[in-house]
């Protein structure tokens, strides 16, 4: 059973991305939304947490915060709200790391 993990806080503000990335199992997916999208920026300290994980980021939240896609860690998929819905459907359950 695969889980979709949602992280909505900046990794520089809270430990949620730390917790989520360390508890994720093989086959799980991570979606960064709201302030969580800052975790997707390359060369930041948080980038090392995401190695080897299936990570997506919500495009509208990136754009709102002025983060262009070329600033993202390689291999991160940018999705929209429709894609968010698809991710929820593709996984068995959702864990919101609030």
């Amino acid at each position: 059973m695969a889980m979709l993990h949602l992280v909505n806080k900046s990794p520089y503000d809270a430990c949620n991305l730390d917790t989520a990335s360390s508890i994720m199992k093989s086959g799980d997916s991570l979606l960064l939304i709201e302030d969580g999208v800052y975790g997707a920026v390359k060369n930041g300290k948080a980038a090392s947490l995401l190695g080897g994980l299936k990570v997506s980021v919500l495009g509208p939240d990136l754009a709102a915060r002025g983060i262009s896609e070329d600033k993202l860690i390689d291999g991160i998929e940018v999705i929209d709200y429709a894609g968010f819905v698809d991710l929820v459907e593709a996984n068995d359950k959702v864990q919101s790391w609030l």
Binding site: I23, K25, Q95
Partner: protein, 136 residues
């Protein structure tokens, strides 16, 4: 209409009193107990603070709701997971927490521990096994 019993997990990650999440989460757990699902509760990150003994809220004017955790056993909530790493990071051990128990009617009402101390890796497996995850 879903007939099968689902595995419900209530996850607590926030400290009590600074915000209302701990108390209002507990209210969901208590109401949810009547719905006859397979219930577990997790305390991790700052959520472990909710179970600390000797809470005295008289100075801050808030209701001390910590005695409610001791009643969870009476609501047939017998699987309470506490994450080991969360305790250790905070300089705590199980001794700092309330001793939560339930009475097993199949064994002559023998008192059993409700708290299961688990590592993060073990907790990952527990969570993976659930059907519905509640967060607050």
């Amino acid at each position: 209409m879903s007939e099968a019993v689902k595995k419900f997990m209530y996850i607590n990650r926030k400290a009590p009193y600074g915000t209302i999440y701990a108390w209002e989460a507990l209210e969901v757990v208590l109401i949810g107990a009547a719905f006859e699902q397979d219930v577990s509760v997790t305390f991790m990150d700052d959520g472990v603070y909710q179970l600390m003994k000797d809470q005295d809220t008289s100075g801050i004017g808030m209701k001390n709701f910590s005695p409610t955790y001791a009643a969870l056993g009476d609501f047939e909530i017998t699987k309470i997971y506490v994450e080991k790493e969360s305790l250790e990071e905070r300089g705590l051990s199980l001794d700092d927490l309330q001793h939560l128990v339930w009475e097993d009617e199949d064994e002559d009402w023998a008192e059993k521990d409700s708290i299961r101390l688990v590592s993060r890796t073990e907790l990952a497996d527990v969570l993976a096994d659930q059907d519905v995850l509640f967060n607050f």
